[in-house]
């Protein structure tokens, strides 16, 4: 709870740091703020408490998912080296503040106990994301992505809100506990108001839109491709982690009793997401666009764990989000470094071809990228393997055999497009010159790689907490 308050205060403080000379310490200051919030958060481990008139619940689920969100943010800020370069057109203080504010929103989404809190968290995160997507003001691609994201995102918010209103009409409360009680008794006596079913579906559709599950994924590739790469990395990790934590809470706490109603729908959507995400990703020529489709397919795996709704689902989602976030940040970090060396049609070169011969010029970056791709593909000895393993075993426990078969097949398709990058880096000849990266940047990416390998070798480091 203290972490939420401190992050919002630090965000305001950061705006004041944007004045005059203090602008130079923005990056270290933001990192310090995030670490303070992280420290405050870990103080709340193993505590059970309700704050803000029972609107926010602090428990281990809140702390663990929030730690992932904060860790991801620290890493993204760590590779954000270009914020302050062009002083006239960029406003580094605002970017860092918006990042801090959006983390506040993500934390509220994870800890919500009242649907009002969920809505406010979703909105704080989304509105911050619309701004960050459009930060490259003079680039038409960035403008277009921002407008698409904004229009589609507020449309999704409208749907989500209509769902909330319907649920309120049926249950008479916004509290998770009260809703769960109503759903349980009403299901028992077979007197569920049709308003609840409409509301539940609309609420889930709104949330699935935010985490880009098919068929609500159509905005994702365009927005991810148009946004500045650093914010694509941020969007695809933080929004997904927070979104799935919220979705899991809704599914497993508030609507646990009407499992039979929503499980079928979500299962169909999970299959659709896996198929569309993986198969379309295989056809892309742009690496960044492939990563967008790959993030859709990862949403499919995460949705599988939500559908399973067994006690181990929570730790499976947690581990998967962690593994996915680490690997995604390394991948986008290397992409940022590589794409800037030679422009392609006026934009940074984000095709697979940009990676040609990287292993010769920058063996370290090539290695970081390889580990990240192996982890995303789910190859053993990386964190991604255990992420998929835990999700698949949750699906086995819930007897979702058909879903499981499709998920395994689709992760084989995944290997094809992830390995294309590795082939480009190690086997394709090229006359590209090497990339020069700063030591802080390299250090951050090495850290994510080491963590990916460490969790791949010792998954118990994370899992023993549950």
């Amino acid at each position: 709870m203290l972490s939420i308050i401190s992050l919002s205060l630090f965000g305001i403080l950061n705006l004041f740091l944007g004045f005059l000379k203090s602008r130079l310490i923005l990056l270290p200051a933001t990192l310090v703020f995030l670490f303070v919030a992280l420290a405050l958060l870990t103080q709340e481990w193993n505590q059970q408490a309700l704050y803000f008139s029972d609107m926010l619940r602090v428990n281990n689920l809140f702390v663990s998912f929030s730690v992932i969100v904060l860790l991801t943010t620290v890493l993204v800020v760590g590779i954000s080296r270009n914020f302050g370069d062009d002083i006239e057109y960029t406003h580094p203080a605002e970017y860092y503040s918006i990042i801090l504010f959006s983390v506040t929103g993500a934390l509220m989404m994870i800890g919500f106990e009242n649907l009002i809190m969920l809505f406010i968290g979703v909105e704080i995160l989304s509105v911050a994301m619309y701004v960050l997507t459009g930060t490259d003001k003079r680039n038409l691609r960035s403008n277009e992505a921002a407008l698409k994201y904004f229009l589609m995102g507020s449309f999704a918010t409208g749907i989500l809100l209509f769902g909330l209103a319907m649920i309120y009409g049926a249950t008479g409360s916004f509290k998770l506990g009260a809703i769960a009680t109503y759903v349980q008794t009403a299901t028992q006596y077979r007197s569920v108001s049709p308003l609840l079913y409409i509301g539940l579906l609309l609420l889930f559709f709104g949330m699935l839109f935010k985490v880009s599950v098919a068929p609500f994924h159509f905005w994702t590739p365009d927005v991810y491709e148009g946004a500045p790469t650093i914010f694509t990395a941020y969007m695809s990790t933080v929004v997904k982690t927070a979104g799935f934590a919220a979705l899991y809470k809704l599914a497993s706490i508030a609507f646990a009793s009407s499992y039979g109603f929503w499980a079928q729908t979500l299962a169909v959507l999970a299959v659709l997401t896996l198929l569309i995400g993986n198969i379309t990703a295989a056809y892309q020529i742009s690496f960044k666009r492939m990563m967008a489709y790959s993030s859709i397919s990862h949403a499919g795996y995460l949705l599988l764990a939500v559908v399973a709704k067994v006690p181990s689902s929570q730790s499976a989602i947690l581990f998967y989000s962690l593994a996915y976030s680490l690997a995604t940040i390394s991948a986008f970090g290397v992409l940022i470094a590589v794409s800037e060396r030679k422009p392609y049609e006026g934009n940074p070169d984000e095709r697979y071809d940009a990676f040609n011969g990287l292993a010769k010029t920058n063996p370290l970056l090539a290695f970081i990228m390889t580990v990240s791709m192996l982890s995303l593909a789910g190859i053993p000895l990386t964190a991604g393997f255990w992420g998929k393993f835990f999700i698949f075993s949750a699906a086995v426990q819930a007897n979702l055999t058909a879903l499981l078969v499709i998920a395994v097949l689709m992760s084989c398709v995944g290997i094809y497009y992830y390995f294309r990058v590795i082939i480009a880096m190690y086997l394709k000849p090229s006359d590209n010159e090497g990339v020069i990266v700063s030591s802080g940047f390299k250090l951050t990416l090495l850290f994510t790689t080491v963590l990916t390998l460490l969790f791949g070798l010792f998954p118990d480091l994370v899992n023993r907490f549950f």
Binding site: I116, V127, Y130, L140, L151, S154, F155, G158, F162, G169
Partner: protein, 107 residues
């Protein structure tokens, strides 16, 4: 008393009205090409939600729904500020608000 006046009309009618407004909003988002009009349709959807929440809240004599309406209004205002800024930014660059012109990123 206000609740009694409101309750003279059956609750279903409020739900029908709000749903109709909401669906008009959805159709507007899906069919119009001008960014501002799409934006107005989204606002219509949000206001349909507000109407629905107030109707439920008054029928149940429970203030929670009305408090939520205040939150929705405040958040929608913030969203309008950001949205209009994005639309102005785009207009400065392409001198048009037709979403059909947005094809810099290929589908």
């Amino acid at each position: 008393m206000i609740p009694e006046v409101v309750q003279k009309i059956p609750l279903q009618y409020y739900i029908y009205l709000a749903s109709a407004l909401f669906i008009i909003g959805i159709i507007g988002v899906l069919t119009r090409r001008n960014a501002i009009i799409i934006f107005m349709s989204v606002e219509l959807m949000l206001n349909a939600v507000n109407l629905l929440l107030i109707a439920f809240s008054t029928y149940r004599s429970d203030p929670n729904g009305q408090v939520f309406v205040f939150f929705i209004m405040a958040v929608a205002a913030a969203e309008v500020a950001v949205g209009l800024a994005i639309i102005v930014m785009l207009y400065r660059n392409i001198r048009s608000l037709d979403v059909g012109l947005m094809n810099k990123i290929k589908w």
